[in-house]
Symmetry: C2
Subunit: 461 residues, 2 copies
């Protein structure tokens, strides 16, 4: 450990209570990007970050986009390598609100059997994670007056709502944003003791399907049997998406899906992934994906199709004998390998249209389309980061896959010709996108220390 | 036309503006029985009716039940036959509220290409209809000091929420309620010129299915593919309910379903039912029920299965990559002939359970079960009413079937050993159970006159 780093780590430990206070300030802002009612809150969160980055010597601003602002900041030393840090300051909606044990935007430190946790929407995804990096920078600046690298921040406010402004923004700001390597903090630990660098990410295709039947809600006694029910049409479409073996039936869906090679399979087998514990943590027992695949394969290396939401007719208390005028579903596909999200969107829409009877019509709403990505693990920063992480945590760092979709890595490659390294400290039980989201205090504290170590290692590498 | 009746009809014509004002008073009370938030409003509607019936010489009261009150009233002459009148003063919910052109509980008379209509929730179903009978009684009493029959009112406040208190109430009040014949006003005209006496009613079985998967909403990236998605399970169940020919696949479903006899089929063919216009009125073209059946058969004589509502996961604006913890649907079956609603409930639940995989559980919520009923058209009141209606309307009255379910007729027979006669003045385009419900002023006015004629005819018959 270098003398430089030692002082920074001490500073991080001393400053932890203040670091937490700053995170709480950010968590109190309900920056739900998908809900127009919260547009002002998303802007407030962007402004908060601009002020905070300014306060540690960065030249920061909130750039307007067609949607929510992009927070960008420049700073650090001109000598070291140039890194770009990416995180997002928007959060998921909080419903169903009645399943939260406390208000989602009033963060609190709570004792649990597994240690202290920070409880709030966004505590893990992604405000807590992005602040690990900001706090590491703050400590470097406090101790040494500057960073050991040149650094650009790029903090997005639309990650949870399909990132509609991201690609136009990257294309319009190619020169300002291009760096030697992007650091992305939106992934997790392998387990509580084992840090991870995520080297495979699934892509995402999001589609909303709206089936329209009669031109108004009808009385099911008067019209039932004679009038086509769009909920029945939608149920048939959704049921047809999978066969009995869990395979996805959209024609051409598996084009470009590779089998994982034996080397990766052997490494994954060595991780001792406990599928029973993974599913048991959410009250389940049986892997539900394609027959003959392991649970780890299902979530890291196989494409999926999930219904994320559906609604039709009367869904309040009691009963209403209505024959609904419309039925809609939100459906997402996780993509791997060379699956082409745009070709799959066309195939999915054709699949749906083929199942819409003469008396119904269908409309589609697009919710994002990004391919899968595989990282350049040969980049020297990967080995430097692996060693830095291994020094901080009880067990050595692993290169892992991820079921989630972080399209930004693919965009950095295709638009900025820049490799990305994904490091994060979330845990499987963080309940991101669910009620009672939390971030372990240990994730936050060791996360800050981990970034301080990585900055040091990459600067020297 | 008797002299007695002539004066009553004149009185009805003169009093029409005041009759409308009284109906508006009742329509302004949002007596939505299925929503506990409106319990107080339902009670207010009951009290309003008690006061109004008291004001025309009835001894009226609102009897408590386990749910909403039953309004009962006694009056009329001791000489004539004893009739019981049934209607309901509760109404359907109003959502989706944004599809209403005006507030649903602020009634207004509006001009339309088909004449003046009363626009409000409940205008047709059933406040407007029940007030046609009340206003006919009021006119008789105003002109002659009393009615030509003995009369009991029985006005329910739970018809739109499965009538949970009805059967216990009828059983506990057999002696007070038993009459020579029940009159029920909750059905429609055959068309704008042709009144109808409904002689066949479908039964109703209502079930809510709740599929539970993981114990919380999950991130579809982290768990998608590995964790069973309850929306997928529900979609499969709902899709399996019908085959490609529109037949319902619950085992034993068609037990007790009769073919209609040739006599009835010939009478129905003579009505000149315009299936194209019927479906065209709601933006549809193709009868969606069993292949090989006419649209009239589908709605009057064949059993059905409809999804009345379904919901799962995120259904707000934008997109949320959630893997939902639960999915639920409200499903109703319309029954005919000798179909046994209780046996079908068991068969439906077994059908669902057989499709719930190991990692999901299912719960059912019961929402009513009533068999179909066929009226005793041999009762002399039917011919008397048919002639009375034919005298009031441009075309002679028809005996018709109905797709709707009015279980009360079956209960009057089985519990009170009393036949029922169903007469009503609703039109197919009244949009009952839908936004912008209305009742034609012509239905209301001629409806009052029709009941005055029927009371006269039945008293003399």
């Amino acid at each position: 450990m270098s003398h430089d780093l030692d002082a920074v780590l001490s500073r991080i430990d001393q400053d932890l209570p203040q670091s937490l206070d700053r995170l709480y300030d950010l968590l109190r802002i309900p920056s739900i990007s998908t809900d127009p009612a919260h547009d002002g809150d998303v802007a407030r969160a962007a402004d908060w970050l601009v002020q905070d980055l300014d306060s540690i010597g960065f030249s920061a601003r909130a750039d307007e986009t067609a949607g929510h602002p992009m927070v960008v900041a420049q700073g650090g030393s001109d000598d070291g390598p140039h890194l770009l840090f990416y995180g997002h300051y928007d959060v998921q909606p909080v419903d169903p609100l009645d399943l939260w044990d406390r208000p989602p935007f009033e963060p609190e430190l709570q004792d649990t059997p597994n240690g202290k946790v920070i409880r709030a929407r966004g505590a893990s995804d992604d405000k807590g994670q992005l602040m690990t990096f900001v706090e590491a920078c703050r400590a470097w600046v406090a101790v040494h007056g500057s960073l050991p690298v040149k650094l650009t921040f790029c903090l997005e406010g639309e990650e949870e709502s399909g990132s509609p402004s991201l690609v136009p923004y990257l294309k319009a700001n190619r020169d300002a944003l291009r760096a030697d390597l992007a650091l992305i903090c939106d992934t997790g630990l392998f387990d509580a003791q084992t840090p991870a660098i995520t080297t495979m990410l699934r892509g995402l295709l999001g589609e909303e399907v709206v089936i329209q039947g009669p031109d108004r809600d009808l009385h099911s006694g008067m019209f039932g049997g004679a009038a086509m029910n769009p909920a029945r049409v939608l149920a048939r479409i959704l049921a047809d998406l999978h066969d009995d073996q869990g395979r996805i039936m959209v024609p051409g869906f598996y084009n470009g899906v590779p089998e994982i090679d034996e080397g990766i399979r052997a490494q994954w087998d060595g991780l001792g992934f406990d599928a029973e514990a993974f599913l048991g943590s959410v009250g389940l027992k049986h892997p539900a994906g394609e027959a003959g695949r392991s649970a780890l394969e299902m979530i890291w290396a196989r494409p999926t199709c999930e219904i994320n939401g559906m609604i039709s007719g009367y869904t309040g208390a009691g009963f209403k004998t209505v024959l609904p005028a419309r039925a809609s579903a939100k459906v997402s596909f996780r993509l791997v390998g060379q699956q082409d999200p745009h070709a799959l969107r066309d195939a999915f829409r054709a699949f749906v249209r083929a199942r819409v009877p003469a008396d119904c019509s269908v409309e589609f709403v697009e919710h994002g389309a990004s391919p899968a990505s595989v990282m350049e693990t040969g980049h020297p920063a990967f080995e430097a980061a692996r060693q830095a992480l291994s020094a901080e945590w009880p067990k050595p760092a692993a290169f892992v896959g991820s079921g989630g979709s972080i399209p930004i890595a693919g965009y950095f490659k295709s638009i900025l010709d820049m490799d990305s390294m994904l490091v994060g400290f979330a845990k499987d039980d963080d309940q991101i996108h669910s009620p009672n989201e939390k971030y372990d205090l240990d994730s936050f504290h060791r996360g800050i220390r981990s970034w301080a170590r990585i900055l040091d290692a990459v600067a020297k590498g």
